[in-house]
């Protein structure tokens, strides 16, 4: 008994943190979503009014949800494709491969705030790196973050900056594919493309599935870059769901309403994740 106690004492910082800062708020937010709460005064029960107002009387709620969905649909598959391609490239046995891997992985460990600030400069229409390069090619680049037509795409483009994180997982997945499968395919006369289609990709699907699920969940929580680089603008074109939720909670002090938003988001993520899990039977191949 005392031995157990010692163990619990060791993990108590985490346990306390989890109960106080994660599980507690998580559960209380269910109740809060049915209240009017400005953080300061006591929460007042309003029934389903927050949910009703969100679904029927808040255009920005729908708009931000649409923007987030669009981001998930575009950025997540793009990250999967680029991540797999990079992993395939870095799976080759060439001199200095460890250096290339490190270079491509490094951006993913740069804090999001720091990389966002750097990208604000890179995408500056007048003195930015991208438009500077385009100018050399005779192309006048757009005002990336200030133009409604480009701001959203710029953030999607920037999301590739962190693709090194998933790339490493794909690389590990590639290393895990048994060599005898390729040897057997070679004996059967399969070319590189066929080996890729019939062995590499199917064997990589568990890893792709993992990154897809994590990517979708991450996309629905997309916040930092939009908060720092565009603050939802121009003309609300980058008002992501989490950014709007943050504004409602911490700027407009509408915590009950924001809790309702958080729960709707949670349900959406649960449903989409469940759907992804249902589809995996058809395309994810486990076992070697």
């Amino acid at each position: 008994m005392r031995k157990n106690l010692t163990g619990y004492l060791f993990i108590s910082p985490w346990l306390i943190g989890f109960f106080v800062f994660t599980l507690g708020p998580f559960i209380s937010s269910i109740w809060l979503s049915f209240t009017r709460w400005d953080i300061v005064s006591s929460p007042m029960w309003v029934g389903a009014a927050n949910y009703r107002a969100l679904l029927t009387n808040d255009d920005l709620f729908w708009k931000s949800l649409g923007i987030t969905l669009k981001y998930a649909v575009l950025a997540v598959p793009l990250a999967v494709v680029i991540g797999v391609l990079l992993a395939l490239l870095l799976n080759s046995k060439i001199r200095g491969i460890a250096v290339y891997r490190t270079i491509l992985f490094l951006p993913s460990i740069v804090p999001a705030v720091a990389s966002s600030v750097v990208f604000v400069w890179i995408l500056n229409p007048q003195i930015g790196l991208i438009n500077g390069l385009l100018k050399r090619l005779g192309v006048i680049g757009p005002a990336w973050l200030s133009d409604t037509k480009w701001a959203f795409s710029s953030l999607v483009f920037m999301s590739l900056w962190g693709v090194g994180g998933s790339m490493v997982i794909y690389l590990a997945g590639l290393k895990d594919i048994p060599v005898y499968l390729y040897e057997a395919a070679l004996v059967d006369g399969a070319g590189p493309l066929l080996r890729m289609r019939k062995i590499t990709l199917p064997m990589l699907t568990p890893v792709i599935f993992f990154n897809l699920v994590m990517g979708v969940i991450g996309a629905f929580q997309y916040f930092t870059q939009a908060f720092i680089m565009t603050n939802g603008g121009p003309e609300e074109s980058t008002t992501f769901y989490a950014l709007y939720l943050f504004n409602r909670a911490w700027r407009y002090m509408d915590m009950g309403y924001a809790s309702a938003m958080a729960w709707i988001l949670f349900l959406i993520v649960v449903v989409i994740t469940a759907l992804l899990f249902r589809t995996q039977r058809k395309w994810v191949h486990y076992g070697g």
Binding site: D38, V46, N57, A143, R251
Partner: protein, 449 residues
């Protein structure tokens, strides 16, 4: 349980206790202050760097001026200051006084986070404030008939212009146009474009609807009956003026031009110093900035002229003000400090503080103090801003409980009109729609009953 595990458990427990003791002892050491016998007044503010030095100087002066209180100043980073304040009040450990500049009075007063300052004032002090404070000072600090914020430095905007550039373009800098329309015309003469029609120099590039609406006789709030006024002919004219100039310059042109400039630079990087724009509109703090970073620059200031038929000396203001939270442990000490800094009862002493920060005064008595007059003589450009203080047509952000929301919506409205994605009329109607929607949403949820 064997003996070894028991010893380990004892060691861990001892370690934890030692850690707590050290942390507690350290905190105690930190909390020690210089004058132990005095009552401690905890003061939070958001200034940093050289501004913090000014604040520390004022605090030091207060601590030396009396022997009852000791003010302890703490610089709280601006981004987290509001939530820290709220959590402090809720947790029963707020500061005694805080210097603010965010639009927080209506929502925080409604939430009972603030102590009405009139509760702390003597009748004589209340009368002095009512009789002497400039109109804009009252507008900023008052909410629902109570004073919640005492100004310690109002911000005003005026024109800054470079006479040399005007002369070079054949414009007499001694006779600026008397109307905004006239200003737009000379602005066109000062604009410069390259062969591909890219803007290379900005003559006059006005922005911010809130600043210009009062110059057309408009504004978003009717102070007499406390109502929002959004879609009015005056507001429409103001937005049309701004959108018209932007359209002529080209929206993309202005965005690109501004993107290369650090418009918010608080040092020598302000583009006006390098002559990137001939005429611009900015706050009084630039006088101090120019003194430090461009002492030889020839520049002038002037009130922004009204639109044809509009009121003179109109505009918009915000500023720094002191608040006392609910649950402050020593509100009386806090009020003593506020009085000292603001100069409500001793304008001659406080006038010096206003010159240290390049701040605008609370009352005419401060403006008339010898030290402040000497400052104005040394920096005549500052006089333009002081002259705006008595104006009754200087507006502030409407005192509604959804100020942050409103502020965001005004920005969006202006943005869409200046981009040309909406006509000024559509943009104003959009703002009206958003505000009405928010009001009805808040009513449905039981706020603002």
């Amino acid at each position: 349980m064997d003996e070894r595990a028991s010893i380990n458990f004892g060691r861990i427990l001892t370690g934890v206790i030692v850690l707590f003791v050290v942390a507690f002892w350290g905190a105690q050491i930190q909390e020690q202050h210089r004058h132990v016998a005095r009552k401690k007044v905890r003061f939070w503010h958001m200034w940093t760097a050289e501004w913090k030095d000014v604040v520390d100087k004022i605090v030091d002066r207060f601590n030396k001026s009396q022997d009852e209180y000791e003010v302890e100043a703490l610089s709280v980073p601006g981004s987290g200051s509001d939530s820290k304040f709220i959590l402090g009040v809720m947790g029963g450990d707020p500061p005694d006084v805080m210097a603010q500049w965010n639009p927080i009075i209506p929502p925080w007063a409604d939430d009972h986070l603030l102590t009405p300052l009139d509760d702390l004032m003597t009748p004589a002090e209340k009368k002095a404030f009512d009789d002497q404070a400039y109109p804009v000072v009252k507008k900023i600090g008052m909410y629902r008939g109570h004073l919640y914020g005492m100004s310690i430095g109002i911000n005003m905007s005026a024109l800054y212009y470079l006479p040399k550039q005007l002369r070079d373009a054949g414009i007499d800098p001694d006779h600026l146009p008397a109307t905004l329309e006239g200003l737009a015309k000379i602005g066109e003469r000062l604009d410069r474009f390259d062969s591909q029609r890219n803007l290379t120099h900005l003559g006059w590039g006005p922005a911010t609807f809130s600043e210009f609406a009062p110059l057309f006789g408009g504004g978003l709030y009717e102070w007499q009956n406390g109502k929002m006024t959004i879609v009015t002919p005056q507001n429409l004219a103001a937005l049309q003026y701004l959108a018209g100039i932007r359209k002529k310059l080209g929206y993309d042109n202005v965005v690109r031009y501004n993107a290369g400039l650090d418009m918010n630079s608080a040092s020598g990087g302000w583009p006006f110093i390098d002559g990137a724009m001939s005429i611009t509109i900015d706050g009084q703090w630039r006088v101090e900035q120019l003194r430090k970073y461009a002492p030889t620059l020839e520049y002038r200031t002037a009130p922004v002229p009204p639109a044809a038929g509009g009121p003179t000396l109109a505009g918009v203001s915000n500023g720094n003000f002191m608040i006392v939270p609910s649950g402050a442990k020593d509100p009386i000490g806090a009020w003593a400090f506020i009085k000292f800094w603001s100069g409500l009862t001793d304008p001659d002493t406080a006038a010096e503080f206003y010159t240290w920060g390049g701040w605008l005064p609370l009352t005419p008595a401060i403006a008339q103090a010898p030290i402040y007059k000497a400052y104005l003589k040394k920096y005549p450009q500052f006089q333009t801003f002081v002259d705006l203080m008595p104006s009754k047509t200087i507006s502030v952000l409407p005192p509604v409980p959804y100020q942050e929301f409103l502020s965001d919506q005004i920005g969006k409205m202006e943005d869409s009109a200046l981009r040309g994605t909406k006509t000024p009329e559509q943009a104003l109607n959009g703002l009206l729609f958003a505000v009405d929607h928010e009001i009805s949403r808040r009513k449905e949820l039981g706020y603002d009953r």
